[in-house]
Structures are given as structure tokens and as C-alpha cells.
Subunit: 360 residues, 2 copies
């Protein structure tokens, strides 16, 4: 059967049937567009105001809070799916990511994690031994973080309907006195970073392909809730926190700049990148600011409390490399710029397509 081409040469726009691309899962601009243009409006078709963010705060009437001056306490609630490939990489595995990733989402809202849930989607034929190994990693990570797995679900799909095993964790926590939020960020805030960037993404890449990277590139996967609690106690005026996972530091900072309506100026000389990670990024032509992290966070803190915040972060092993990397500015709202090593200033765009699929 042949199709008649109607209106060939006509200027009416030709619109192909849209399909999901790998880039829609990048955590960058395509992800944001999918959420904004497709998922959120559709979810809201029945329930106006539905919000789909990394984590949500639930007001529970009558629940005492964690020291907040406001009446009534609140829960934080978050969920994350993990499809990392390969599932084991230098420094961690999918089980560590599933525990630490959700704990970190709660921590970024100022929440003290109480408990996690765990759902498996398993491909028929997965060696039971691997399920045992992944589950043991989940158990160890939960024990290390002090946050128990309390409920779960296991589904099995046929061969070819998944790639081994996927994990989805959700977490609940209680909020404390400080409620970080991107909308609170103000010009003048110091931009602090808890440790070197791009380690997770390059560790997964090194496990995926044989690039001949040195073995010392380890994923930074780690639970950040204890460091965040110390940071918020030392710097209660902290405006916002963000863990720059998919899409990297560049995407996280751009989101904050856009939400807060401020600009962000970074100092490239201050940006910590471990030397082997920088070399690997150079080899692959990747900007370390676009590469995923799993164990660091960025904090926007009023300048007067920046030193106290840095000291609190550095007192924890997971924050020992904390540094100030720039500041929020009133200029160029919604934009992130970096002053390069040679003194010029360039714009830092968020990740657009998909650079490293299935990085978490």
C-alpha cells in the first residue's frame, strides 16, 4: 500500500508522532520539558495543583514539628527509580544508589529520614545470587545510614521486558526547623559545594566501557543527611540545598537560578574536580559540570553564615572537601556563569540532551 503525500511542499508544519527519547531521562532540559509539558498537566487533569518534584513536604494537621516556629509539623516524602547500567561500578552498586539517593532527596528538603520502601522490577532469568547481592548492598547501605527499609514489593517481568533489575525507593522523613527552598535564595548568598564533582558519572562510565581510566575513579555515592543536619544547625539561615545528580552541577544551579530569579557566578578555579576525573572528562569531551554526582550537595547560604556552614560540612567525612565556589547575584537572573581560569566569563548551560544514559 502506498500513501499519498498530501500537500507536499506546503508550509504546513509536518509533525511526527512524538516518542520518548533517552534524553527525556537525562535530568536536564528535556526532562524538565517532559515534566512541565506532558506529565504535570496530565496528572493535574484530575487534581489541579498536583506537583511532581524531587521531594514534597506534607503538612500533617496536629503533628508536632521539629522545632519550627510555625504551628504544625510536616513530613517529607520522596521517590526515585534506579536503572543504572552497569549495576556494579567502582565505589558502589545500584543498591547503594537506591538507598543514598532517596535519603539525599529527603535531606535536601531539610528532612530527617525515618524509613524507606523498596520495589524491585526483575527480569526473568536474573541469577538469584545477583538479587541476593543487590539486596545485601541495600541492607548495608540502609544500616550505614541508619534508615531502615520497612516495606517493599517485587515484580517479575519476562525476558527482554527489563534489563536485569530495577529498584525504586521511596522515603519519608520529618522536617526540622529549617525549610530549604530554591525560592528563598537571594543575591549575595554564598554558593557552597560539599565535595568534588563528576566522580559518580565517570565511575559508571569507566565500568561501562574500557577507556583505560585509572582505577581510582570511584563513585561518590553517600548518604548526606547527617552532614546536612550539622550544616543546618550551624547555618540555620541556609536558603536552599540541592544534590546535583542527573544533569550535574550545571543543571542543578540553572534550576535554582531560574526558580529564585537570581544569577549565579562561579569561580572555575574554586571548582573541585579530582585529577583522574578531569582527565577522563577531557578524554570524552565532557564538561564535569554536566556529569552526575551521587554524594555531594550544593548549599546557598547567606554570606554571614558561610564560614560556619563550611566548617560544619568539613567536620564530616562526606563533606571534608567542602568549598565555596561562587555567589548568587542580582545580574543575569536565571543564568549561571563561570569565570574561567584565564579570566573570561562564560555561560554555563544546563544539560540539554542525554550524555550518559542510565547513570543512576
Amino acid at each position: 500500500m502506498t500513501a499519498t503525500v498530501q500537500g507536499a511542499g506546503c508550509p504546513v508544519p509536518h509533525r511526527e508522532t512524538e516518542r520518548i527519547l533517552l534524553g527525556h531521562g537525562s535530568g536536564g532540559q528535556l526532562s524538565a520539558a517532559l515534566l512541565r509539558d506532558v506529565i504535570a498537566p496530565a496528572l493535574a487533569s484530575g487534581a489541579p495543583g498536583a506537583i511532581v518534584d524531587d521531594a514534597a513536604v506534607l503538612e500533617v494537621p496536629g503533628m508536632p514539628d521539629g522545632g519550627s516556629p510555625r504551628p504544625g509539623g510536616s513530613l517529607v516524602f520522596s521517590t526515585d527509580a534506579f536503572v543504572v547500567n552497569p549495576r556494579e561500578f567502582p565505589g558502589g552498586c545500584i543498591g547503594d544508589l537506591a538507598v543514598n539517593g532517596t535519603i539525599n532527596d529527603l535531606a535536601m528538603m531539610g528532612g530527617r529520614p525515618l524509613a524507606l520502601s523498596l520495589a524491585y522490577i526483575i527480569e526473568e532469568g536474573l541469577p538469584v545470587e545477583e538479587l541476593r547481592r543487590v539486596s545485601a548492598a541495600v541492607g548495608r547501605a540502609a544500616a550505614t545510614a541508619g534508615v531502615p527499609i520497612v516495606t517493599g514489593d517485587t515484580k517479575v517481568v519476562g525476558r527482554g521486558a527489563a534489563d536485569g533489575i530495577y529498584l525504586v525507593t521511596s522515603g519519608v522523613g520529618v522536617t526540622g526547623a529549617v525549610r530549604p527552598s530554591a525560592s528563598r535564595v537571594q543575591a549575595g548568598d554564598a554558593v557552597l559545594l560539599s565535595g568534588p564533582i563528576a566522580a559518580h558519572g565517570m565511575a559508571v562510565m569507566s565500568a561501562r566501557e574500557d577507556f583505560g581510566f585509572d582505577a581510582e575513579i570511584l563513585s561518590d555515592t553517600a548518604p548526606l543527611h547527617r552532614m546536612v543536619a550539622d550544616l543546618l544547625a550551624a547555618a540555620p539561615a541556609t536558603h536552599t540545598l540541592r544534590d546535583p545528580t542527573r544533569g550535574g552541577l550545571a543543571s542543578a544551579l540553572n534550576e535554582i537560578a531560574e526558580t529564585a530569579g537570581i544569577g549565579v557566578d562561579l569561580d572555575e578555579a574554586a571548582l573541585p574536580v579530582a585529577e583522574p576525573v578531569r582527565a577522563a572528562c577531557d578524554l570524552l569531551g565532557l564538561d564535569p559540570m554536566h556529569v552526575a554526582n551521587e554524594g555531594i550537595c550544593v548549599a546557598f547560604v547567606p554570606a554571614a553564615q558561610a564560614s560556619a556552614a563550611l566548617a560544619a560540612m568539613r567536620a564530616r567525612p562526606e563533606g571534608v572537601g567542602a568549598v565555596a565556589i561562587g555567589r548568587a547575584v542580582a545580574d543575569h537572573p536565571g543564568r549561571v556563569t563561570v569565570r574561567t581560569l584565564i579570566g573570561s566569563q562564560r555561560i554555563v548551560d544546563p544539560l540539554i540532551g542525554e550524555q550518559l544514559p542510565r547513570i543512576c
Copy 2:
């Protein structure tokens, strides 16, 4: 290369490398064994006492309760993965299941649902229009139930690494005065069922294969939290609640019998099965008690409150078909029996393998 068969004929047991089977996702005996023998011990390797059940109760120090005589209130927390195939079937779709299934897990713990999270795992190439349709179904189901989706995550995997789209929902709720638990069931309890069985499983089967079933077999997917709240108010001595999803009524009752150390005697004549559903089960040689449900629950209630409980259930559209189907007995602990239409008594086993893969 040929392998030398060592010790051929020797009685040393030959143990093949174990692999995950579809039956491990059945909700029946293989699922229970995988959880008991592999997942739970491995999770507990780092955190002794980790429990993975359909839903968990979290004690939150200082949180007021919902009327319980005990000091301190509690949260309920649950998660479910949805991999149903096909994703659209008579009476519902994967989006309805994802909302109603998690709400029902909370309700079975006596919880009042507060909010849901939603994670997508999407195969590259999925039409965006289908994502929009699924998301709209989620939004409508959430609005119907009055329980908002408040947080989410979206991951995309390559072609062939998933089958279209999978959903994982988690839910949090607050417990009320009644804490149903299988361990509270006692001999003498009436066994109540809120509506006819096997509709969901047969609706999905009819959509999957062209069996020539009548079109009137619709999935029973529905949120049960309002009916459960009324039931618990009318019969506060209710001992336990269970939604018989994967593995069907037979598996749910066997689990309760085993946990409570009681027997269950059913009356086949009282067991509601819609006529087209029964005909479809007969055609495929399936026992309706092994077929999945998504919108009914079973309640074990002291005999003195059974009438009040039934009246409360029947006052809601989702419980209009509620009936008493049997009772808990001291005989044959851990076993479920049914008195058949011809007066004999037979044992009702839980589902063992996998009868209808990817039914939810």
C-alpha cells in the same frame, strides 16, 4: 570443547544456578519463598529486623494519633510496582491500578491515605501520547480517591530494556484507632468479602488474548479507603483486612491462616463470582480463588460485629456486593478449606507457580 562428566551416576545432588522465574512474581508461594529465603535475609544483613511487607507502620515519636488509646501516633507507608500487560484493559489501565493499589495497601493497615509518590520507568520510543494518557489516568484516579500525587521521578531506558512503561507508587497515611493485623485473628471470626472475585485477572486476560469473552468482564480496580474507614467505624473490633491481589483470595486467606495460626472454613455457595467471570475461568481451567483482584477486600471480624461490618460495606458502591463467606476455626491451623456445592470439603491451596504473569 567437550566437558568431562565427573562422578556420573554419583548421588551428590546436582544444583543448577538458580534464576528468577516469572512465578517469583506471582504473589503466591514462590513469591513468599523468594522474600523469606533471599530478599529479607539479604536486606537484614546490614540491618537486623528489616521487614518487607505490603505496608509498614512507622511510630513517629510525639505525633498525635488518630484516636488510639496508645500514646503516640503512627504513619503507614507502602509501595507497589505495576507492570501489567496490556496496560489498558476493560475497566481500567495501569494508571488506575497504580493509584488504587497503593491506596488499598494503606487502607488494609487501617491507614487514612495522605499522599502518593509516582515513579516512571519508560522505554525509549514510547509514544508521548501514551505517557500523557497514563498520566491523565493517574491524575483522575488520584482525584477520585482524594489522595494527591505529590512527588515523582522519571527514568528512561533504551529500547528493549523495558516493555513500554512501568509505574511504581508509594503512599503515606496516618493510622486510626483500629490497627488491623493478621496476628489478631481468632477462631470464631466471621470472614467477610466486599465483592465478587476474579474480575481483574479475567479482564486483563480478556484484553491480552482473544478468548471471545463477553465484553462485560471489567476489572474491579477501585480505591477502598472510604469503605474501610466506614467498616472500621462500624466494627472497631475488626481483626484484619486484606486485599487479595496477586495470588487471589486463596493466597490471601492462606497467609492469614498461617500468620494467625487458625484455620479458615469457606462456604463455596456463598463465594461471589460474576457469571461471565466464572465462565471465563472454567474455559481456561482457572480457580477463581487464584485469580487477582484489585478492588475488593476480605475482613476478619468478631461474629458479634459482622452484621454491622457488612452493613457499612454495603452502604458504599465499592462494597455493595459484600457477603460473609466463612469463618475462622481452631481446627486445621494454617489451612483453608471450602465446603463445596455438593457438600464435600476440600483444601484451598495458595497459588504456587505463575498463572497469569504481569496481572498488575
